[in-house]
């Protein structure tokens, strides 16, 4: 069987494209190299829905960010993904910063960003009381917001599957052959998959996929960003707070998350290794030093974890979204660094337009279902709803993760929806994301995974691959 389209990469872009394509009468497959969606840049980033003032006017980034930002409201409603339009501030401490802020404002106007204001320090502190009293001016963008990047990715993949897209995990694409009829034969995980069209959404590896069909028109370089995530009591910050940007990115920010935590980050370190997401002491020190400039009351004793993600920085300076030069039925969505998350819904629309331009036959489905529901969360229910949920399913009465109050019913549902590892359960339910970081619940989550997937405990992993959590049964493990 030949697919109409194969999407390579299960990050936020690939999953958003899959969802958008699932509106049409197509046989589509999403190929993901790892054991789950949202395993690369999409799980470790700033989770910001940018307003769109910091992209160069006329760039794809500028256009798709502003369009994507506007689309976020509908997408998050339809997919039950958290979105908070909390607004963002770029803060300045001196005249040089003010000049930069004015430049950002002018850029934002050109890009079509609505409702921006330049405010003085006092007004900025009215908007965000946790700000440093050293702040003298700020750019306020009320359309800036926060979301949950891995939840959006998971939601898109679930909705795409609901509408007929096939998802293959542990399916890394290692070769692509351009066929004489314009289609492709992809080698993935030892299997051959044929498709008339390919969407290259392989993130950090999108240049590799392009090169597999002889297109070396762009490169992607990893840029590491480290983060410190703090408990809910770390401080009371309600808006996204940027410092003025540098060449390496949008600077260190302090921001709330949709779950009520606070984070500081990211650093920006260029590297060659596309897997290395190490957190360094130097990075932690940098974040501590820079973040308190924005919010002096930030309490680093409340750090519950640190992590790092890699941005996929394109050599072209802009998103690479266009048909492949050597095989035009492959459409690239490559080099998607910031503001990739904000742009994702717009990138999906853009890709569909490009595929249409390449002759793809797109007929809308009569029965497309745009809605996807989040796993009903016990902690968010009223007492009446909780009682009802337990009456329907007693597993709602068994709390497994005590820090975040996650029940067994939610964990079982996450597994039913595709979680196959402890981290997969964590991203879908928050089990293990609280202050004990899984100290109590991870053995119980492992038990539930083992039971539901009918796998021995030795095969339960943290995040797929060889990330096994136990090495064997007692007395069966060889002495060292």
């Amino acid at each position: 069987m030949r697919y109409d389209v194969a999407i390579v990469g299960g990050g936020v872009v690939g999953c958003a494209v899959a969802r958008e394509l699932s509106r049409y009468e197509l046989r589509a497959v999403l190929l993901e190299a790892t054991e789950d969606v949202a395993m690369g840049s999409s799980k470790a980033n700033s989770a910001i829905v940018h307003a769109g003032y910091d992209c160069k006017p006329g760039s794809l980034m500028a256009r798709l960010n502003v369009r994507g930002n506007a689309l976020f409201t509908r997408w998050c409603e339809e997919l039950e993904v958290p979105l908070s339009r909390c607004g963002s501030l770029v803060i300045g401490f001196d005249e040089a910063d003010r000049a930069q802020i004015e430049e950002l404002y002018a850029q934002g106007v050109k890009n079509g960003v609505p409702d921006m204001q330049i405010v003085d320090g006092n007004r900025a502190r009215e908007l965000e009381p946790s700000l440093s009293d050293q702040v003298t001016c700020a750019l306020y963008a009320p359309t800036g917001g926060i979301t949950c990047p891995y939840e959006l990715t998971i939601a898109c993949s679930e909705n795409a599957r609901r509408n007929g897209v096939e998802l293959r995990t542990n399916a890394p694409v290692t070769a692509v052959e351009a066929l004489a009829d314009g289609g492709f034969a992809l080698t993935c995980g030892g299997e051959r998959v044929e498709a008339n069209y390919v969407v290259n959404a392989a993130g950090l590896f999108s240049d590799d996929i392009a090169r597999m069909v002889g297109d070396d028109s762009f490169n992607v370089a990893p840029r590491r960003g480290e983060y410190l995530l703090m408990d809910r009591n770390a401080c009371h910050t309600h808006k996204v707070i940027f410092q003025t940007p540098s060449k390496m990115g949008k600077g260190v920010l302090v921001s709330p998350t949709v779950d009520g935590n606070i984070f500081a980050g990211p650093t920006a370190i260029d590297q060659t290794d596309r897997y290395d997401t190490e957190v360094t002491q130097a990075g932690i020190d940098t974040l501590r030093k820079l973040a308190v400039r924005s919010v002096p009351t930030l309490n680093f004793r409340a750090v519950i974890t640190s992590f790092a993600g890699l941005r996929a920085v394109p050599s072209t300076g802009d998103f690479v979204i266009r048909p492949c030069e050597t095989a035009p039925h492959m459409v690239h969505a490559g080099g998607i660094c910031s503001p990739g998350l904000s742009s994702a819904p717009a990138i999906a629309e853009e890709i569909v337009g490009l595929l249409r331009g390449q002759g793809m036959d797109l007929r809308e489905k009569a029965d497309f279902e745009p809605h996807r529901s989040h796993i009903p969360a016990f902690r968010k229910m009223t007492r009446e709803q909780q009682a009802e949920a337990i009456a329907q399913n007693p597993l709602y009465g068994r709390v497994i993760c005590r820090c975040e109050t996650i029940t067994e019913a939610e964990i079982v549902e996450a597994i039913r929806r595709g979680a196959r590892s402890v981290d997969g359960v964590k991203r879908r339910t928050r089990a293990g994301m609280g202050r004990c970081q899984g100290g109590f619940c991870s053995p119980r989550v492992m038990d539930i995974l083992s039971r539901e997937l009918q796998l021995p405990m030795e095969e339960i992993t943290k995040f797929g691959g060889h990330s096994n959590l136990v090495v064997g049964k007692l007395k069966e493990v060889k002495r060292v």
Binding site: L228, L229, Y275, D276, T277, E278, V279, T280, Q281, G283, I284, V303, I304, T305, S306, F307, R383, Q386, A387, I390, A391, P394, L395, Y396, G397, R398, V399, R402, C403, T405, E408, R435, C436, Q437, G438, G439, F440, S442, P443, D447, M457, E458, T461, K462, F463, G465, H466, S467, N468, L469, V470, V471, G472, K473, L474, K475, V477, K478, R479, V480
Partner: protein
């Protein structure tokens, strides 16, 4: 479902069980709410011996120690609901809990005993740099996997922190065939009991490296090695050039325990920032009348024997309150200073009289120093101790009859 009980005990570990027994003996109706499948708490995974020397005068394993209390509870009218999680309690002593069997439970309590225990500090809280592979466990999590589930968490192990659980797990994993490469301790002394250092590390030739920490974790999917480094004794910062990379597949963390007081904080109980537990008086009553606290949720203990004694006091107090709800007025503070890190109780009520036990910990190692307990100009006690360390909780008994002033605990060094 709505219910009532004279005394509701939150947590069915050693503290909760001891409190329940005493409350029952005092004639109260008692309901214990336990989140796990069986009572006994963390003792159930502590299959080593060394428990009960003080309380029972003999050496028991953790499950044996818990078993004695569970057997006693079975002979009473105490009701234990297992697999039951408390979601909140309020200052007017209403407890909301949930279980798969009973759904939501609303319980009206005459008095509440907080006995939720503690949890372990994590890698995240320490911000250990490096990658984030599988194979980094808190020592207690590894202990549960090993002793309750029957699985080996790893083969080649480095342990950070010389807390008791880490020391116990060093021995346990060695006996199960793993190689424990080293135990690193940031401080120049151990926070574990001396007997555990001897029996677990010395007897198994496991090196204990003081003034050392883990500065980097290696490995993408599973831990492949850790880099350790010596630290400056004063600043605790790694000393460049002293790094050593040790191959291993597992890093266990035994870097401190934190009382689990989310419920207490949400209810508005006044907390002690040093112990991370409630501020209590000599009856173990918190700032909320009728709410008592004991065991590791109040302050982290070294010996379960002390937990049992403290919980019995809290259980008796809770039963008395349930019978005659009369909030005690707080009369005097118990202040830890001059080398004493904290003292429990932190308050004395206006009813306090006669002999009272004060539990405390010191902030450093003291040899040949004396503990001084004063109230105004009155010296209540001066006791010389050959050695006092932060790892071992100390207890003194003082007579507080007729006090007119706050009580001060301090260390008096020679000269």
């Amino acid at each position: 479902m709505n219910r009532k009980a004279d005394v509701v005990v939150i947590g069915g570990g050693p503290a909760g069980l001891a409190a329940a027994l005493q409350a029952d003996a005092a004639g109260a109706s008692v309901l214990v709410l336990e989140r796990d499948k069986e009572p006994g708490g963390i003792l159930q995974q502590c299959i080593h011996n060394g428990f009960g020397l003080h309380y029972f005068g003999e050496e028991l394993t953790g499950p044996e120690y818990a078993g004695r209390f569970i057997d006693r509870v079975k002979q009473t009218g105490i009701e234990i609901l297992t697999d039951t999680m408390v979601l909140e309690f309020t200052a007017d002593r209403r407890v909301l809990a949930v279980s798969a069997e009973h759904g939501l439970l609303e319980i009206e309590a005459g008095a509440i005993v907080l006995a939720m225990g503690c949890r372990e500090r994590t890698r995240g809280a320490l911000s250990i740099p490096g990658t984030r592979p599988a194979g980094v466990f808190t020592a207690g999590c590894a202990q549960r996997l090993t002793n309750m589930e029957g699985y080996m968490p790893g083969r080649q192990v480095v342990i950070l922190g010389s807390g008791d659980i880490g020391l116990i797990m060093a021995r346990r994993m060695t006996w199960e065939g793993a190689k424990v490469m080293a135990v690193c301790e940031l401080m120049p002394y151990s926070s574990g009991l001396n007997r555990n250092i001897v029996q677990c590390l010395v007897d198994n030739d496991i090196p204990l490296k003081f003034n050392h920490t883990v500065v980097r974790i290696h490995g993408r999917e599973r831990v492949e090695a850790v880099t350790i480094s010596e630290v400056d004794v004063k600043t605790k910062r790694p000393i460049p050039g002293t790094e050593e990379t040790i191959p291993c597949d597992t890093l266990l963390l035994s870097v401190g325990l934190l009382p689990e007081n989310e419920l207490s904080i949400a209810a508005g109980v006044e907390m002690d920032s040093v112990t991370s537990g409630a501020v209590v008086d000599e009856e173990r009553q918190t700032s909320i009348p009728g709410v008592f606290a004991c065991g590791n949720v109040l302050h982290v203990h070294d010996l379960v024997d002390n937990v049992s004694h403290e919980a019995e006091l809290a259980g008796r107090s809770a039963a008395a309150f349930a019978k005659h709800p009369a909030p005690a007025a707080r009369a005097h503070r118990v202040i830890a200073e001059g080398g004493v890190r904290y003292a429990v109780p932190q308050m004395l009520s206006d009813k306090a009289e006669g002999k009272i036990d004060l539990y405390f910990r010191v902030g450093d190692v003291y040899r040949g120093a004396a503990l001084l307990v004063k109230s105004g100009e009155r010296t209540l006690l001066r006791r010389k101790k050959p050695i006092m360390t932060p790892g071992e909780m100390e207890k003194v008994t003082v007579d507080v009859t007729g006090l007119t002033d706050d009580v001060h605990l301090s260390i008096e060094t020679e000269g």
